[in-house]
Each structure stands twice: as structure tokens, then as C-alpha cells.
């Protein structure tokens, strides 16, 4: 039986999970695949600390280059976009295939890495870079490859979904829940990457690139995070039959123009995606033949991420055994869209919360401004029992163009009767 040597670079949480999996499941994987995976070594700058996995001492090394040289497949799990990039290029330049979970690196330097892989006859697989253990990259590149992709909606960041789930269930505001999540290890001390939407954006641009045949990077993405979500809006959304989720959104319209964006959105509570709670991730893909599909699972964590990394290792090992490296290139350019729409040019439904002084005529004035911008209202609620100086008006709109909506909001915010900036969330009818 062919033996494939695996070198892991980065003995952190995920590295420890991958090592544990390979040590525990080598025989099972051989039974399933006909290929024996052998752990060649684990490189890290710190090889003393206990990672809770029983690895023979001689497998540990601080010399990642040496480990690359004696491996068939190199697993990059150190993260970041500098040393990780150098190490991956070293591996590829030496014809070693690479598995990585590094979404930030891929989003930024994917094309350069893919070109190196092709040049040197090596492979890069990156299933773990999006939605952890969920095999969504395989689904897009293979399982749904016969579909034009109409829409993708992803809950792609467990930290944000955890915070929103707890805010909604416990009726607490963003800040205290974030603090608790940090104490529990569900959020980083520097939480910006997660809660400002950038992590979701890294994942979203990878999914969009696979769907539409161009490696987009970060530039075309409109990105908003969850800091601006208040308990007030979660509650009003709930009353209206919606939940608020941070979504990666990718859409193609009938003119073949596409949108790629990340922001909180209201989705109906009866949508399956609305039931994805806590740290779980899910990706809803609508293809022109398959219709609606959804892929659900753990988006992070030692074991779930290891599951995705090991599935990539198995894919490469099968290619090595069958002597067809490059059978499935890391990425194949082939443009399947017309233009990328700027956020201002997109059409959306909106949830607006306007805080007003309850004086006669204010509703008429706001309605008139919206009407002048061709924004029609699908629902209008004024809550009773509030102070007359600060009344909440909730307005749900029909489809409207973002730039007209913004212009209308600007006018509304100038009114003397309006006491705060208008809160705006897009509504996605999934």
C-alpha cells in the first residue's frame, strides 16, 4: 500500500487536531482509501508546550524547512500572511502539495500561490478555510459543479453567530456578551477580525471566486460587522418575524451581474438558516438545477477543522496514488459573470428604525421622502407606550436601490423631528 508522508507546520489548536486524527485514524483511512497516511513530523517554534495530544517526541521539530523536504504533503496551520506564505511557496517550489486553512492568506495571495502550485506540479487544497468541517468547497467545486450559482448565503463566523444567538436568547446587549465570549474563549481578545466581518469576508470571497471563476480578493467586497446591532433591533426584528444574522452574501441576477457582500441581515425565522445557532456555521447554495441546498456544521474548533484538513490530505493522497496531481486545480479562472455591482447599485429590502419626536405630520413627512425616492413601504409600525419625545418607527420597505435609500435616509436624518441616526438593516428573502 502506498504510504504518503504528512508534515504539519504549526502545532496550535488545529495542528494538534490534525495530528491526533492522523495518529488515531490512519488504519481506518487506509481501509477507506487504499492509501496509508504517515505523520512525518510536526514543526513549531515551541515544541515543549503540551497540546493534549500524545505525539511521539521524535516527530516534533523546530525546523520547518527540513520537515517540508521529507514530506509528500505539507499542512500549513500557522496562520498569518507572511511566514505562512514563504513556507507554502517553499513547499510548492519543491513539488510538495499543500493543505491550508489560511483564508486570510488565500484571500490576499491566492493567485500567486495557485500559480506556483501549477508551475511546480503540486496541489493546494483549502477546504478548512471556509466553514470549518463543512465540505462546502468540495460541494461548490465538485458536487454542484453542473449548476449556475444563483445565490449563496453563509453564516461563516462562529463567534458572531454565538454572540447574536446569546443576545437574542438572553436579552443582553452586544458588549457584555462579547466580554463573556472572550472569557469563554469563543472570541479573541482583539475581536475585530471576527466581529467587524473581515473573517466572514475572507471566506465569502473564496466562495464567490469558486462560483464565478475569478479570484476576487477583498477589493470588490462590501463589509459590515455586528457591532452596530442593538438588542432593540433584535427585538423588533423578532416581533416582525425575523432574526438578524451576519451573512456572507453572493448573488447573481438575470443580467449575470454579481454582488459579493458581508453584513448583518434580517432573515425570516422560518428559513432553515435562521435556525443555525451558537457557534455553528451553515451555507445555503441555490443553483439553477439543484435549487436550494444547505450545508451545516461546526465552523471552527480543533476537531471539526481537522476533519476538513484531513479530507484534503486524503484528496491529495488519492491523486498521488493514482498519479494525477493537478486533476483538480486549486482554482481555475473562467469568468462566469458580467459585472460586480457596487453596493450602491444593489436592490434590497430594508428594515429602518427611525427615532422621532411624536408630533403631528412626521409620518407623512418620512413617507413622502421615501416615496420621492421610489421606495415603497411594505410595513410601517409605530410602537405605543413610549415617551413622546423618542418614538420608534419601524419601516420595512419593498425592493429599493441602495443609493436611493441612502439619499432618502440622509434627508430623513436632517428633519428636526428625527432625533437619532436611522438604523438600517437589509432584509434577505432567503
Amino acid at each position: 500500500m502506498k504510504e504518503i508522508k504528512i508534515g504539519i507546520i504549526g502545532f496550535g489548536t488545529v495542528g494538534a487536531g490534525v495530528a491526533a486524527n492522523l495518529l488515531e485514524h490512519s488504519e481506518m483511512i487506509a481501509a477507506r482509501t487504499g492509501v496509508k497516511l504517515a505523520l512525518a513530523g510536526i514543526a513549531d517554534i515551541d515544541i515543549k508546550r503540551d497540546r493534549g495530544v500524545n505525539v511521539p517526541k521524535w516527530l516534533l521539530t523546530t525546523d520547518s524547512t527540513e520537515l517540508i523536504m521529507k514530506s509528500d504533503i505539507v499542512v500549513e496551520l500557522i496562520g498569518g500572511t507572511t511566514i505562512a506564505k514563504t513556507l507554502i511557496l517553499t513547499a510548492l517550489n519543491n513539488g510538495k502539495s499543500v493543505v491550508t486553512a489560511n483564508k486570510a492568506l488565500l484571500a490576499k495571495h491566492g493567485e500567486e500561490l495557485f500559480a506556483a502550485a501549477e508551475k511546480f506540479g503540486a496541489e493546494i487544497f483549502y477546504e478548512a478555510s471556509v466553514a470549518g468541517g463543512i465540505p462546502i468547497i468540495k460541494a461548490l467545486r465538485e458536487g454542484l459543479a453542473g449548476n449556475r450559482i444563483n445565490k449563496i448565503y453563509g453564516i461563516l463566523n462562529g463567534t458572531c453567530n454565538y454572540i447574536l444567538t446569546r443576545m437574542e436568547r438572553e436579552g443582553l446587549d452586544f458588549e457584555p456578551i462579547l466580554e463573556d465570549a472572550q472569557n469563554l474563549g469563543y472570541a479573541e481578545a482583539e475581536p475585530s477580525l471576527d466581529i467587524d466581518g473581515f473573517d466572514t469576508a475572507h471566506k465569502t470571497t473564496i466562495l464567490a471566486s469558486l462560483a464565478y471563476g475569478k479570484w476576487f480578493g477583498m477589493d470588490p467586497l462590501h463589509v459590515e460587522g455586528i457591532r452596530g446591532i442593538s438588542l432593540t433591533d433584535l427585538r423588533y426584528a423578532d416581533e416582525l418575524g425575523y432574526r438578524i444574522k451576519l451573512l456572507g452574501i453572493i448573488k447573481q441576477n438575470d443580467d449575470k451581474d454579481i454582488e459579493i457582500r458581508v453584513h448583518p441581515a434580517l432573515i425570516r425565522k422560518d428559513a432553515l438558516l435562521a435556525d443555525v445557532s451558537e457557534v455553528f456555521n451553515a451555507v445555503m447554495v441555490n443553483g439553477d438545477y439543484v435549487g436550494d441546498t444547505m450545508f451545516y456544521g461546526r465552523g471552527a474548533g480543533r476537531e471539526a477543522t481537522a476533519s476538513a484538513v484531513v479530507s484534503d490530505i486524503i484528496d491529495i493522497a488519492r491523486n498521488l496514488a493514482a498519479k494525477c496531481p493537478g486533476r483538480l486545480p486549486a482554482f481555475r479562472a473562467g469568468k462566469l459573470y458580467r459585472n460586480i455591482l457596487a453596493i450602491d447599485d444593489t436592490f434590497n429590502r430594508y428594515y429602518l428604525r427611525v427615532q422621532v419626536k411624536d408630533v403631528p405630520g412626521v409620518i407623512a413627512k418620512i413617507s413622502a421622502v421615501l416615496g420621492n425616492k421610489e421606495i415603497s413601504i411594505s410595513s410601517f409600525i409605530q410602537k405605543e407606550g413610549q415617551s413622546q419625545d423618542n418614538v420608534s418607527l419601524m419601516i420595512l420597505t419593498h425592493q429599493a436601490q441602495e443609493k436611493l435609500l441612502k439619499a432618502a435616509i440622509h434627508e430623513i436624518e436632517q428633519m428636526d423631528e428625527v432625533s437619532e441616526d436611522v438604523k438600517i438593516f437589509r432584509i434577505e428573502d432567503i
Copy 2:
């Protein structure tokens, strides 16, 4: 660019969908994969009837053998286990790879077909045989290949799920909904294959085989359908916080023994699987590393099934282009379990509905019988406001062995106070 010739045998619903997809998406697929798929022909005994897809006349033929000879990949979509088998063997014997959606044939003759494929260097792919457009076979064989599979729960038959959804939502009994489903084309005139659980069983045995490395066929499966589900039980289940779904169930316990079975089961309403309604399918897979995952989508229909067939065609085409047919064998034997448990040896929680005459002491007698068989009760409800001659007792049990449960039920049914056979459903804590 390499061109791969596709021959479709069977111009029914799915055949028409596959033809439409290949004609519509040939360029898109070439952009994604670097392989050009060309429709070589469509064989059927009836090539006159309009299938609602605009196929050039010269592609249609009644000579399936001739079509096989001029194809690189043969798509078998005629169904049944006789002619389909002959045609697939003809294709394989001539080194042509095969895509099929024929779960009944695979369940019955899978090993023979796989052996022929291996002997002649051809491939068989069968993604469309389980859960329609959902790429669940790919997930099990590839995306989750690094996991020991602990549990699989599948809603695998759209007809049954549609009937149960409507019974629950509309409060109507099984028979009128079945009749309506037949009129709407959601159920066959001869509905037994679907509603008696056999279709679900064909799919379940395929999933179990892939998870545990033995082609099980139908013999080890315990199969029950949905005919015995009454509105009464759906309502009581609902009051208790459960829905009833027809599930394909595959489990492995800590001793590595496995269970493979198909039957209606109560699942908690807050489980994601409980929200899978209408004709949709979903498969929940729990792996030891990935944890819980769920795969959701359309389980049948022209377009969704075509999506799965075309993804298989693309997989084979990639192998042909990379010159590695056989890279992923149709099935690889490699036993990953100890024994298969008979249903009597399994442990389950149960929902029991006992219809009794409301005389003093009856509850004590029933409880005593259950207690004597080591069956402990987790919930006991007697509904008020019924006729005293026919009172419903609902009993939910803790884990109990099936054979002890059956013995207890047998005793209970002998009691003078018990007026009907006890209704029994297993409860699955997903």
C-alpha cells in the same frame, strides 16, 4: 480541450433534465473544469414523445448498445434491476464508465457491478441514487473521509416527507393526503416502494455501506413505512414537543456494533432535521471529528437529480482528462464495524400509546409490566375529556432494549382493560 462524449440511456424525467443541463451548461462546465462535455446521444424505446427539452432529433436513438459504443460515459436512467443491469454491464465490459441513479439496482447488485467496473478499468458513480441533488455520497466518501461515523439520520424520501408534512399542517389523515399526493404527482399510483420504506432503505443501505466498508444489501435492514402513522399520534407527538419523520438510521455504538434501519421516529421539534419539510431531503451525519453536520436539498425531481448526475459526469470526465480512471473506486471493502445488531437487540427510547378502559388500577398494572422488563418511564400522560371506555395513555420511556419492550407490549395487549393494539414509535434524540 479534451472532449468527453456522454450517452444518456432513458429519456424520462431525469434523462430530460440531464440532457437539458448538458446542452445548456456545456460552456460553463468547460470553464470550470477544463473538460468539454458533449452529448453523444439519448436512447429510449420511445423517441417520439415530447419531454419538454429541445434536443436535436439526430441525438435520439432506440439503439442503446450503439450509443454505449460511441460514448465515453454512459448515464443509466431507465431504472429497474434487469435491463438496466444488462446495459450497465455492457458499458463496463467495453471500458465505458457509468453514472446511475438506480438505488434499487445498486442495493441489490452493487458488488457485481463494482467488480465489473474494476475488471475493465471503468468507473461507476451514483451520487443521484441517494438524496437527489444533495452531494451526500461525495461528502461521505471524500469530505468526511477522516471521520469515524457515529450516526447518520436521513430524511430520504420526498413522498413520505411530503405526506407527513401535510398531515401535520392540515390535520388530515394519511389516506386522503396520499390520494391527493397521487393526484399531484408526488406519489406513485402504486405507492408501496415509497410509503412502505423500501426506497428509503435502498438509500440507507448505500450510505451505511460507504460509512462502514461493507456492501450490505437489503438483508440486514429493519424496514417500516409510514402507513401506520395516524393523525392522533402526530398530534400527541406535537404536544410532547416532537415531530414524526420517516428516517433512515445508521448508528455505531462504542463496541463498534452497528444498526441500520428505516422507520418513523419521533424527533424533537428543535432539531434542525425536524424543520425539513415538504419534498425536501436532508442527511445528518455525526462524525467523531467533525461532530454534527447536515446536508439539505431536493431529494428528487428532474433538475435536482440532474445536478447530481452531472456532478458525477464531471468527476469521471476529470479522471479521464487526468488519465486516472479508478482514482476513487465505486466502493472499497474494508470492514469498519464489529457486528450488525438485530432490531431486537437495539436500545431505544419509545413513545407508546395505549388505549384503555379507564378503570381503577390500570395505570398501576401497565407501569408494573414495564418495570418488570426494566423499562423506565420518562413521561406519562393521560388525556382528560375522553370517553371513559377508550382513554389514551401516552408513555415515553427511557432507553430500553427492543425485545424487552416488545415482550412488555405483548403482556399489556393481553390485559382486559386494553382495547387496541399499542401504538409504538421509537424516539431518536438527534
